[in-house]
Symmetry: C2
Subunit: 213 residues, 2 copies
């Protein structure tokens, strides 16, 4: 059954080298991680120097849209080699030994060429996906962007071709003899939650906050 | 008063270009962001291709220690140009217009040369800082690493020289005429919390979970 799941073929660059057992190439798992996160870190190179910036993103099938602004360093050219990484932190892995202390996480790394989206309808679709990525249906509630606003927004598209995920789950793996020590071992869950929506000072009477899907 | 606060001098590479008003160079604010996060994204370049990997880190004064493993791509050389980025997500900024929808966040970008730490006592100190970064006093409770374990861990040190932070706070900034629309506007807080510690199957009787500072 596992072998029939569509997977991203590992390349020399995406083959998980460190702790290979944590490597995941299964498309469904990769998509699930990408859809759960909403801030990615995009790496690019300028004059030999790597830069890593956080930004919003959304997935559309086998493509990721990255949100940006025309003035940003990332958006200077029509095509740029990037590494896009999404990381979800799930827990602190508290081992009996400091050495085996770790973090439970799920991360996806996408390598490839990100291309500036020029078509205005595709840009609109990307903005729709950004807007609905966290708050389902928000695009339909909000005021739609004008063509001028769409021109003032830069969107990059990155294909999901060269992709790998890395996942650590479960309890600490201590050395066998250390389990006899009077030291606590286990996992402290790390949870990202949404608090109570805080209206700004100018919300019209009777307008309620959006539901968080 | 502001001017007497120690700051990181902006360079051509760290000058915040996009929305310059969000740029922060104040050391105290930069330190606070670095100390609140515990997973960073490190970017480096291999054969022209950027890579971005998530990893644990800790700050020691004007230096950051990055945790790694000797087999990882990052740890292949004694000195490597990196960009280390820490991002804390604080809220969804729900504007009346899709265009002004945003995210409240605090991020720090550090550029520089990360150097492999070879001295075993400095490595031990870095591991102590990683271990205590999230759970205060955990290093003192846990089994200390052996010299062999320290050799099996790679640590990089990155000076805090070329540093900038970027911060967005507060409500959405809608276009003036949009405040009259019957659309909700405000902020949905995003909060990272720790759940109830889950002991693994082999914790000795009477041993209680560590306190999360």
């Amino acid at each position: 059954m596992e072998t029939s799941t569509p997977s991203y073929p590992p390349t020399e660059r995406t083959q998980v080298k460190r702790l290979a057992k944590r490597g995941v190439y299964d498309k469904e798992q990769v998509h699930a991680i990408l859809d759960e996160g909403f801030v990615c870190h995009v790496g690019f190179v300028l004059e030999g120097q790597p830069f890593v910036i956080p930004t919003a993103y959304a997935r559309a099938g086998e493509q990721i849209y990255i949100h940006g602004a025309p003035a940003s360093r990332l958006m200077k050219s029509k095509e740029v080699d990037v590494c896009l990484t999404v990381t979800l932190v799930d827990g602190l892995v508290v081992a009996r030994s400091a050495f085996h202390t770790s973090i439970n996480y799920r991360s996806v790394v996408v390598l490839g060429k990100a291309r500036l989206v020029l078509d205005i309808d595709q840009k609109r679709e990307a903005l729709r996906l950004f807007t609905n990525h966290v708050i389902t249906g928000r695009w339909e509630q909000a005021k739609q962007p004008t063509d001028q606003e769409l021109k003032a927004t830069s969107v990059l598209a990155l294909p999901l071709d060269e992709v790998s995920a890395k996942v650590r789950t479960g309890p600490p793996i201590d050395d066998e003899e250390d389990y006899a020590l009077p030291i606590w071992g286990g996992v402290v869950p790390v949870v990202q939650t949404f608090g109570e929506p805080m209206p700004d000072a100018r919300v019209m009477p009777g307008i309620t906050a959006p539901n968080l899907g």
